[in-house]
Symmetry: D2
Subunit: 147 residues, 4 copies
């Protein structure tokens, strides 16, 4: 399904902070894990060294709502869902599911907007349309999954 990807991670000791829970900044690292896994599942990598000029995918907006904490050794599924696809940018919703609880619980929900840019020889970045061979692979998730 080219509108969804699921990555699983176990919360590690170095992901926790002295409050005994996963540090809030690490949810953003986990989102990226799912995002990059999604690209691999579509047959490409977020690092496009071979295009000329080189393409990049900087983040322009990131957010997260935290409902319940994650703790050391918790098993979490990061469910990526394509929320929007515009000419030059994509928005993803991320649902964090704590798997080691029955039924599984949604502990956090994130949002990431990335822009396709071209790296100019002078180091500057210009936003450019997402290449068609990538854009055509990415579908919008059904609204029911995003509620």
């Amino acid at each position: 399904m080219p509108y969804e990807f699921r990555a699983t991670r176990r919360v590690e000791f170095s992901d926790t902070d002295m409050a005994g829970i996963m540090h809030y900044s690490n949810f953003f690292r986990f989102m990226e894990t799912a995002e990059h896994g999604f690209y691999r599942s579509l047959g490409f990598s977020v690092v496009m060294a071979e295009t000329d000029p080189r393409l990049g995918w900087p983040r322009v907006h990131a957010e997260c709502d935290y409902r319940k904490p994650l703790r050391f050794e918790d098993l979490v599924e990061i469910q990526l869902l394509v929320k929007e696809r515009r000419t030059k940018s994509i928005s993803y919703t991320f649902r964090f599911w704590k798997l080691n609880e029955d039924p599984r619980v949604e502990v956090a929900r994130g949002l990431l907007t990335i822009v396709c840019v071209s790296h100019q020889p002078d180091g500057k970045m210009t936003s450019v349309p997402i290449p068609p061979e990538i854009a055509e692979k990415i579908e919008i998730a059904p609204a029911t999954l995003l509620e």
Copy 2:
């Protein structure tokens, strides 16, 4: 001014990623640096080991808009501004200023909402009113600073 705090950080090598810029998750670590410095400037610490029951300040919402990248050895000022203060929660705006550019540039803007909770003996957390000795020290920033 009990509605503002400024922390300065130099972007370190370990803050960067292979795109050559500060990893987007690290802006959230920098926000917290300013937030905790703000509390110290008011005479207390985010870690309140001595209250009974113990109080905590979990984050319930975090977001960031990225306008320009930060690079290794850039000097950045994180300007915390109190955006809202409710009975049990506070929202902060964070403006990231790259200082080694003349005039200084706002490279990113963040938002953080934290809730005051009490840690129950059974490990559960309940949201509680912010203690008056803290609440009365925290003012709302003038709207002009938040534009």
Copy 3:
């Protein structure tokens, strides 16, 4: 085999630095991933909340020799080997194997020494003998694996 454990990780974007390779401090996070997985494979967790007094496993020595870099999306196996087991401490060797190269290459080798401590009510830690039910599960790896 209670003297060995293998964990596999993919190098993530947030693990890299602006040199385009995994930041050297992250090899230590990966060692811990293997160490904690080793404990789980033996039926316990490094976090022993239920013992009284509570036991802990602080690190007293850590080192790493770097032979070749790891890059984004490299698949790495962290092979934990028990190097030494004393009354109150254990030393582990870690061999990092880059799997996406044929034949696989050892890119780094680490060493970690941990001590068993008891947390006193006053917050102090005292080194104590490793509990027999744990010690008896942990064997020394054959010397040939450590060469």
Copy 4:
């Protein structure tokens, strides 16, 4: 003194782990903070984009001995001392001093060996002699400081 540099850091919330102390991998990030500050104090940067071919300073060995934990908001001085300077490599000793204790306490001691390399057009790295304009600025610390 071109054989010594002192950097000061406050332990941040995101530096701690669920054991309530600074995560052991972060001592290596702090070592690098002092190392890169040392280079700036000598008038150059560890990132040498303008040399041709481009020079780099990969780490080949890192280690740390942990004596006492660092906790949230502890103020720590990282004292860099040049331990050895060879034609193509440098070794640094790092002494971690907890400043918010009287008298100040050495809580950890680290070691880092870096090699000067040249980046070849094909992406390979070859070790090369440290450029004389850098080598001549770096002195060996007196043995008494390294005891």
